[in-house]
């Protein structure tokens, strides 16, 4: 049974068709790169998979069950989404990292945060940093940490390295790749076709709201 199964999915907003009849399956353990021109509908596709929006036509099945049958909050804990423009809320970084714990009614686990901070090369002093004073790349890495505090089954990443330098990009890619090796399914939107080949086993090309090609690499 595929992990995710999109059947004839369409998304129309204000009379404008953003995605049309998109169908594809994601197998457990896949690492899928999603590429395509700006405005083609890539982010919309991931937002649909994270159940932040629902298709206006067609269906999405998760583990063989229509997404509409799940409790939305459970679904989103299992399918994590890291958005294109990282958004840190509140005043400091700790508030952001405490949020996933408080959602699960669990105490803040500093050890887990330390672990992820060192994985993404973030100094531990950033925990008390003011979110306003962070650079774009720092925000991106912290929002990734926030998403990864509890490991999901599916990880949806929307251009999460767009503000990172070469070294940090490599580090994030390695981290995500090793998560994938541990069994987490990854769908990653990227603008870099070369990099998309390096880790991915499938590449989906979106163009003008349609899937132009699904290339299986390995």
């Amino acid at each position: 049974m595929p992990l995710l199964d999109l059947q004839n999915v369409s998304f129309v907003n204000d009379g404008k068709a953003i995605l049309r009849n998109v169908s594809f399956v994601v197998e457990a353990g896949d690492f899928i790169s999603i590429v395509g021109p700006s405005g083609s509908g890539k982010s919309t596709l991931l937002r649909l998979c994270s159940h932040l929006i629902s298709p206006t036509g067609g269906n999405i099945f998760y583990k063989g069950v229509n997404m509409n049958e799940y409790i939305p909050t459970d679904l989103r804990k299992s399918i994590a989404y890291c958005s294109q423009s990282p958004y840190l809320f509140g005043n400091n970084v700790k508030e952001n990292l405490d949020f996933p714990f408080s959602v699960r009614k669990m105490p803040f686990n500093e050890g887990r945060v330390k672990e992820l901070f060192s994985l993404f090369n973030i100094p531990f002093t950033f925990l008390t940093a003011d979110v306003q004073n962070l650079s774009g790349g720092e925000k991106q890495r912290i929002s990734l940490v926030r998403t990864l505090l509890f490991l999901p089954e599916v990880l949806l990443l929307d251009e999460i390295t767009s503000a990172l330098d070469a070294e940090n990009t490599r580090m994030v890619e390695n981290a995500v790749s090793s998560l994938n090796n541990e069994g987490i399914t990854v769908l990653w939107i990227t603008h870099d076709p070369e990099k998309s080949q390096k880790y991915a086993n499938k590449i989906i090309t979106v163009e003008a709201g349609k899937i132009n090609s699904l290339e299986v690499l390995k």
């Binding site: 994270s50 929006i53 629902s54 939305p72 958005s83 809320f89 949020f99 959602v103």
Partner: protein, 262 residues
């Protein structure tokens, strides 16, 4: 002040020349608001005369049932007006009515049971009028704030949703902000009471010949009751209406801000 309560009609007529000042200014300065001014003045006079006679009649009735019906009517009107600021929120009229009624009933109960006021039309109706109109203004401010926050803080709400949070923790910041904004006018006016303004009610009592020391007691009571009512109404309204911004799949839906939501 010679202790007389009544203004005689001749003095009132002379006082009405004050309206001419405003009309003259509008005319000479080409403000073009002569017509509006006249219409407003005419409306004020007609409405007040009608209300005056109605109140005189009701006070004479001394019927608790009738007083209660009138309170319901006032609350409904206030709810209807507040709802206009929250167009797009589902069941906004019911929510507004519920919020205003809760705030009013709780506050009035405390006032009546403590013996501060009696459930007599001449006490209950003016006091409720103040409470209800204050809640109405507070709710309008709450709705306006919520509508604009749910629009401008979309990213924050969706980020929290995507971290697996339910709709309440995802919007708690917006809810608190709206309640706070709704209460600020009441808190601010309480802070400046007696310094910036002598409130209308106190002025009225003093004009009617009541000693200032007695008048402030009433004003203190009014300040307490307005604070309690606005906080209760705002709280109820915001906690009942935030759900409208989500669908059953716990997804943020967009409510189009209407042009008249100024």
């Amino acid at each position: 002040m010679n202790g007389s309560i009544a203004i005689d009609n001749t003095s009132l007529l002379i006082a009405s020349s004050l309206v001419l000042v405003s009309l003259y200014l509008s005319y000479s300065q080409k403000l073009g608001i002569e017509k509006e001014t006249l219409v407003s003045v005419a409306r004020a006079i007609i409405q007040l005369v009608i209300v005056g006679y109605i109140l005189e009649y009701i006070f004479g009735l001394e019927s608790s049932l009738f007083t209660t019906l009138l309170l319901l009517f006032m609350a409904f009107n206030a709810a209807y007006n507040a709802s206009k600021r929250g167009k797009g929120i589902q069941k906004i009229l019911t929510i507004s009515f519920g919020a205003i009624a809760t705030g009013t009933v709780l506050t009035l109960s405390v006032l009546v049971f403590s013996g501060t006021i009696a459930y007599e039309p001449y006490q209950i109706i003016p006091v409720s009028g103040m409470i209800i109109s204050n809640s109405m203004v507070a709710l309008g401010v709450c709705y306006k704030q919520m509508l604009s926050d749910f629009k401008s803080k979309r990213e924050e709400v969706e980020t929290k949703l995507s971290l697996g949070a339910d709709i309440l923790p995802s919007s708690i910041g917006i809810i608190r902000d709206a309640i706070r904004t709704g209460m600020i006018p009441t808190i601010d006016s309480a802070r400046t009471l007696g310094i910036v303004s002598l409130p209308g009610m106190m002025t009225g009592l003093i004009l009617a010949g009541i000693s200032p020391i007695e008048a402030i007691k009433y004003q203190i009571m009014v300040t307490f009751m307005l604070l309690s009512t606005t906080s209760i109404s705002s709280y109820v309204a915001c906690y009942l209406s935030y759900r409208s911004f989500f669908n059953t799949r716990k997804q943020l839906v967009s409510i189009k801000l209407k042009q008249d939501n100024i």
